[in-house]
């Protein structure tokens, strides 16, 4: 009898109890220690989980046949100083490295999505230092993220398992499309910013179109 009564009224109980917490919690800037501890699980959740990690480990052990695709571009607004963006394929993984050796004195710029796949809406956004991450979702589990990272005297390295890898040109510069366990990642740059659009449940063309239409303001 008790079980039945509890089960019948638990939803109302839960909603009453939730009123003890604020609907909008004040934003807390988590410490670097917390962020570092969470990074592995978030990266795993974002970039394909165990297989990626296994492949990275295997890469370190097995001698590799390397194919390097490199691109260098000019960031005209920064006095002609180049940012490099290159991808290295290695035994089923691809590592994309971006480097900008100069100091960017300006504050990080905002950006705009000029194309949004149909039916998706912004679910969350997060700023961490020079990086901004937006998460868009839809009820059928289709989702994509946009991460824009400003480089200033900094090198950024991202490794994925690569079921497929291809290049294309965005804004006159080389960009990369990687299928990592069913999640498509489109990686491009704009001036000294790295832009990564990643998602699942959406076509590759849709994600590429989204990545092409991220513009710095």
């Amino acid at each position: 009898m008790t079980d039945r009564i509890i089960a019948d009224n638990i939803e109302l109980c839960r909603n009453l109890w939730l009123t003890a917490y604020p609907e909008e919690a004040p934003r807390h800037d988590f410490s670097e220690g917390f962020t570092s501890a969470m990074r592995p699980i978030l990266r795993a959740s974002r970039f394909g989980g165990p297989r990626r990690v296994k492949n990275v480990i295997r890469t370190a052990i097995i001698a590799a046949i390397m194919l390097t695709v490199a691109a260098a571009a000019v960031a005209a607004s920064s006095g002609g100083t180049p940012m490099t963006l290159e991808a290295v394929l290695n035994d089923g993984t691809v590592t994309v490295t971006a480097e900008y050796r100069h100091y960017d004195r300006d504050p990080a710029r905002s950006f705009e999505l000029e194309h949004l796949p149909e039916g998706l809406s912004l679910r969350s956004s997060d700023w961490q230092g020079d990086a901004c991450r937006l998460f868009y979702g839809r009820g059928d589990s289709a989702f994509f993220t946009v991460e824009v990272t400003r480089l200033s005297r900094r090198r950024l390295s991202l490794t994925y398992a690569a079921d497929s890898f291809s290049t294309l040109r965005v804004g006159g510069a080389e960009a990369y499309v990687i299928d990592d366990g069913g999640q498509i990642h489109v990686i491009r740059r704009a001036e000294n910013y790295v832009i990564v659009v990643a998602g699942a449940g959406l076509s590759e063309d849709e994600l590429i179109k989204t990545a092409r239409h991220v513009t710095l303001e």
Binding site: M1, T2, D3, I5, I6, A7, D8, N9, I10, E11, L12, C13, R14, N15, L16, W17, L18, T19, A20, Y21, P22, A25, P26, R27, H28, F30, S31, G33, F34, A37, M38, P40, I41, L42, A44, S45, R46, G49, P50, R52, V53, R123, S124, S125, D126, R133, F135, G137, S141, F143, T145, G181, G182, Q183, A200
Partner: protein
């Protein structure tokens, strides 16, 4: 790292986990800090909670739902209490804290009276009832989630029901 990644093994769970993380991390911190009154300990509690949540993401259908909100807060509170126990060097610390609920309506609505009595239960009893009856976790799943033995969870659920019966009796509601 392999330990972490093994917790999430399909792309649907991965996307849900990320969404859950960004939606609730600040709220979870608020909940943990209210118990621990210490930034570092509160962040530890949030981290521990996310590890437990990652292991049980299969139960999350909609990150934005009230049920998910209650789930992450329930796990966070529990992990914060664990840290408080360790900090005080106590093996067992009965969490007798009660939430700040709105004033109770006095309109004779029995369902509301039962719900209000459950929501007013002390911390651990309320959390166990929510995990068992709202989220539908088994005793074993709750035990693994909260780092307790199955026997401790079963005993805690029995005690929660006894407390609820007692509370309802005081309200003049006889349920068995």
């Amino acid at each position: 790292m392999l330990v972490y990644t093994a917790l999430l093994d399909d792309s649907a769970s991965r996307s849900l986990f990320e969404e859950t993380y960004y939606l609730y991390k600040s709220l979870m911190y608020t909940a943990a800090y209210s118990i621990l009154q210490n930034t570092r300990d509160a962040e530890d509690a949030v981290h521990d909670a996310f590890l437990s949540i990652a292991d049980h993401m299969y139960a999350v259908e909609d990150p934005q739902s009230r049920r998910t909100r209650a789930f992450v807060l329930t796990v966070t509170e529990s992990r914060a209490i664990d840290i408080l126990r360790r900090r005080r060097g106590e093996l067992s610390l009965d969490d007798e804290s009660t939430p700040q609920l709105p004033a109770r309506r006095e309109d004779g609505d029995m369902a509301y009276g039962v719900a209000y009595a459950m929501a007013s239960l002390p911390g651990e009893s309320r959390r166990l009832l929510l995990l068992r009856y709202d989220m539908g976790f088994s005793t074993g799943e709750i035990a693994r989630m909260l780092g307790k033995s199955r026997a401790a969870v079963a005993k805690g659920l029995t005690r929660a029901k006894a407390r609820l019966r007692e509370a309802l009796k005081k309200e003049g509601i006889q349920i068995d």
